[in-house]
């Protein structure tokens, strides 16, 4: 026995909330993407724990797909950041105020 299953889930939840706080509170677009990465990673950790808990490999397969989604999301997101930086000269989310009405 390694640890109770609940401890692993709570670790994953704490990591997920940290990523969410980073996404909400930061204004830098790169930091927002980093928060999303932390959240995806925490979800992967929970999946691996569940995979070990039920002795099924499906959880590990899902982590593989989470990694694929994270990689493609980061590629497109960073391309968008570069595009926005060329257009507006800023990577600060507060500076994109063209639709403030």
């Amino acid at each position: 026995m390694i640890v109770p299953y609940s401890h692993l889930l709570i670790l994953a939840v704490i990591l997920f909330v940290m990523g969410a706080v980073c996404t909400i509170a930061r204004r830098n677009l790169i930091m927002i993407l980093i928060g999303v990465e932390i959240m995806l990673n925490a979800a992967g950790l929970a999946f691996i724990g569940a995979s070990l808990y039920w002795k099924q490999l499906d959880g590990q397969a899902f982590v593989l797909f989470i990694m694929a989604v994270a990689a493609s999301e980061v590629a497109v997101g960073l391309a968008l950041i570069v595009y926005l930086q060329r257009r507006t000269g800023s990577v600060n989310a507060d500076d994109y105020s063209a639709m403030k009405g």
Partner: protein, 176 residues
């Protein structure tokens, strides 16, 4: 507490501390380097929880590819001091931390309330070859979809990252 339990808690502390440091750094480069430490810790956790193949993939994809991509972008976009003002603005952090604490409490209560969650995890190890056989027997179609998703992301990133063309109006628009 067994040896594996001690390793788990040590790694958990490592991951949590490095993630806290990462999300509070002002400069993105420091945050990225702390996050690499966090991902290494997560990879060791994956190995401890019986997923050696995914531990290797975590190091290669997350700590290697994704974080290096972040570093490249930070170098490409000449960052001004992006978060204005000094330190961390309380007005941005306070609501986020309150909301995060509430959701953390609710989720932790839900997890603790289920009695079967208190069962200890028994160690196990999924051999990479068994995982590969399982993946391509049960999940071959999602694997294809994932590869297609990566291709689409590649095309999208290329399209977004191309140089701005000359500012000539497109000929088809003039003919209208």
């Amino acid at each position: 507490m067994t040896l594996y339990g001690g390793i788990f808690y040590l790694l958990a502390i490592l991951v949590l501390v490095s993630t806290i440091l990462a999300i509070t750094r002002r400069h993105a480069v420091n945050a990225i380097v702390y996050l690499i430490v966090s991902f290494f810790g997560t990879a060791l956790l994956f190995y401890l929880l019986g997923a050696p193949f995914l531990a290797v993939l975590e190091v290669i994809i997350y700590a290697g590819a994704i974080m290096v991509l972040f570093l490249f972008i930070v170098m490409m976009t000449d960052l001004q001091p992006s978060e204005r003002g000094k330190g961390l603005a309380l007005g941005q952090w306070l609501p986020a931390i309150i909301l995060g604490a509430i959701s953390l409490l609710v989720m932790a209560a839900l997890i603790v309330a289920v009695p079967t969650n208190q069962i200890g995890l028994r160690g196990g190890m999924a051999a990479p070859i068994a995982f590969g056989h399982f993946l391509f027997q049960q999940y071959w179609f999602p694997v294809e979809i994932a590869s297609f998703l990566l291709l689409i992301a590649l095309v999208g990133a290329l399209y977004l990252g191309r140089r701005e063309s000359k500012l000539e109006p497109h000929p088809s628009k003039e003919n209208r």
